[in-house]
């Protein structure tokens, strides 16, 4: 898989903003991607050294429209910890 296919978009929330202080960056990633793939993709895209990757599956919320029940897509979140001294500029602007 291509790096761009793995890393879909950054997660910008209050929680993820707080994690930035610990040099951790959150991304929405492809559900099929492994931690190794994610590490490689981040290193390739942002030219940084990754120390650790933690992933989690986020279940889509159940939403209903009247009596029809539906589900928002589930996705995978990756919290990427960088080696000290590395930064992702892209987030800086955020």
């Amino acid at each position: 898989m291509d790096a761009h296919e793995i890393i879909k978009k950054p997660v910008v929330t209050e929680k993820s903003t707080r994690l930035l202080e610990m040099n951790k960056y959150c991304f929405m990633v492809d559900r099929r991607a492994s931690k190794i793939q994610i590490k490689q993709a981040i290193e390739e895209l942002f030219k940084v050294k990754v120390k650790d990757v933690n992933t989690m599956r986020v279940l889509g919320k159940i939403k209903r429209m009247g009596k029809h029940e539906g589900r928002r897509p589930s996705w995978k979140k990756a919290v990427v910890t960088l080696e000290p001294g590395n930064r992702i500029e892209f987030f800086e602007g955020v």
């Binding site: 997660v11 910008v12 929330t13 209050e14 993820s16 903003t17 800086e92 602007g93 955020v94």
Partner: protein, 442 residues
């Protein structure tokens, strides 16, 4: 903040202001604090969004307007205090370059301020105070009025009605042989010769004997309010029941006693005189005050502008409107009735407005020059005094909603009173007035 003051014509001033980069940054920070409470970004609770995220989401300029406003307002008011300016209008704000973080910000404000008053000689104005005297004639007139008020109608032993008598009559009016509404009454007391009835009627009664019935012809005047009757000739059947005359009380001690705490006629006269004098003196003191103030104002120079005068005009017209409303009239109706436009009215009131504005300015300038101040205690005292005239509910409302206003008004009026007193005290009395010295000048 750096400020530069420049005077323009017509009481206007130009303020050149410059905020340094640090102040600009502060303003931006404040603007962010304000804006962040209003805008939401997905993923963040209201008020929790970091500044960068906000800027990215809503664009770089989200804070620009608020920051500019904050800076301008702060700078403007600081400048007002620094240069001790008293604006009478909203300022015109101008800036050539938009606000930018990290740079200093220059802007200018143009505003009209209270004009400077060139005080003339206001101390030692030479002016004689009128010395009120009560003449015997005035007392006589007062007594006459009293007599009139206490006069009684008594039956007269007369058989023929004469002018000046009071006739008790029944009457019924006919128009072309038909009775008309409002044309009849029984036991009506009419002063013959008073002209309260239509012309011809009272004259027709003269010479009537007691118990006599008579037909009187009288013509309604052309401008009679009831149009169905105007200009018509009517026949009245009249019966005379009684003749009464007005009996005036004799002006003696007894009469004096009946009026209250007087033993003799002399005492009553004395009292009347005293009261009349007090009244006149009060009036004279007021008039004197007005004259003194007028003189002081005349001697001073102020450059008035339309802004001030227009404001006063609005105030005057607003007051007029209220007056009319109290009488159940609308200002528009009044204008229509007297065939004037609002512009006419304004033009008419303009001299008055000018005078009032000038008087205000001069008096407050004098107060400033003389260091007249009003203490909190004085205000409190006056406030309590004034409050007692209102119902408890109104009192509470006033204290709650407009305390600031009320206190400010009291302060102004107390200051004015003091100033006027100072002016009056400082008046130079002409030599001939020495004798009248013991007369207290309020």
């Amino acid at each position: 903040m750096q400020t530069k003051l420049e005077k323009l014509e017509k009481n206007r001033v130009l303020l050149e202001l410059e905020a340094d980069p640090k102040e600009v940054a502060d303003a931006f920070h404040q603007a962010y604090r304000k804006v962040v409470q209003k805008l939401t970004v997905p993923g963040f609770r209201k008020g929790k969004t970091p500044r960068k995220v906000l800027e990215q989401h809503y664009g770089k300029d989200v804070f620009l307007q608020d920051a500019t406003e904050i800076l301008v307002t702060r700078g403007y008011y600081e400048a007002l205090i620094e240069h001790k300016l008293e604006p009478v209008d909203h300022p015109e704000i101008d800036f050539s370059e938009p606000l930018e973080e990290g740079k200093s910000f220059k802007f200018q404000a143009k505003v009209e301020v209270l004009p400077e008053v060139e005080l003339g000689e206001y101390k030692g104005i030479a002016l004689a105070k009128a010395n009120p005297v009560v003449t015997d004639e005035e007392i006589e007139a007062e007594l006459k009025a009293l007599q009139e008020r206490h006069a009684e109608l008594v039956g007269a032993d007369k058989t023929v009605l004469e002018k000046g008598d009071f006739a008790v009559i029944d009457f019924e009016g006919y128009l072309d042989g038909e009775p008309f509404p409002g044309g009849a009454a029984q036991g009506y007391t009419l002063e013959v010769g008073s002209g309260s009835f239509i012309p011809g009627f009272e004259e027709g009664l003269l010479g009537m004997a007691l118990g006599e019935e008579r037909e009187v012809k009288a013509t309604f005047p052309e401008d009679y309010p009831q149009t169905t009757l105007a200009g018509k000739e009517a026949v009245f059947k009249v019966k005379l029941h009684e003749i009464k005359v007005k009996e005036y009380p004799v002006l003696d001690d007894e009469f004096a006693q009946s009026l209250g705490n007087f033993k003799t006629m002399e005492e009553l006269k004395e009292d009347l005189k005293k009261r009349r004098l007090a009244e006149k003196e009060y009036q004279a003191a007021r008039e004197f005050e007005d004259q003194v103030v007028e003189k002081a104002v005349e001697g001073s120079k102020v450059e008035l502008t339309d802004t001030l005068i227009d404001r006063e005009l609005n105030y005057l017209i607003h007051n007029m409107e209220h007056d009319f409303e109290d009488r159940g009239l609308k200002l528009e109706e009044y204008l229509k009735y007297s065939n004037k436009t609002l512009a006419d009215l304004r033009a008419e009131l303009r001299p008055q407005a000018e005078r009032r504005v000038k008087t205000d300015l001069v008096l407050s300038a004098i107060a400033k020059a003389e260091g007249i101040t009003v203490s909190e205690d004085e205000i409190k005292e006056r406030l309590e005094y004034l409050l007692q005239f209102y119902s408890p509910a109104t009192q509470e409302k006033m204290m709650k909603e407009q305390k600031e206003n009320v206190v400010e008004r009291i302060r102004t009026s107390l200051e004015r009173e003091k100033t006027v007193k100072l002016l009056v005290d400082a008046v130079q009395k002409p030599e001939s007035e020495e004798k009248g010295k013991e007369v207290k000048t309020e």
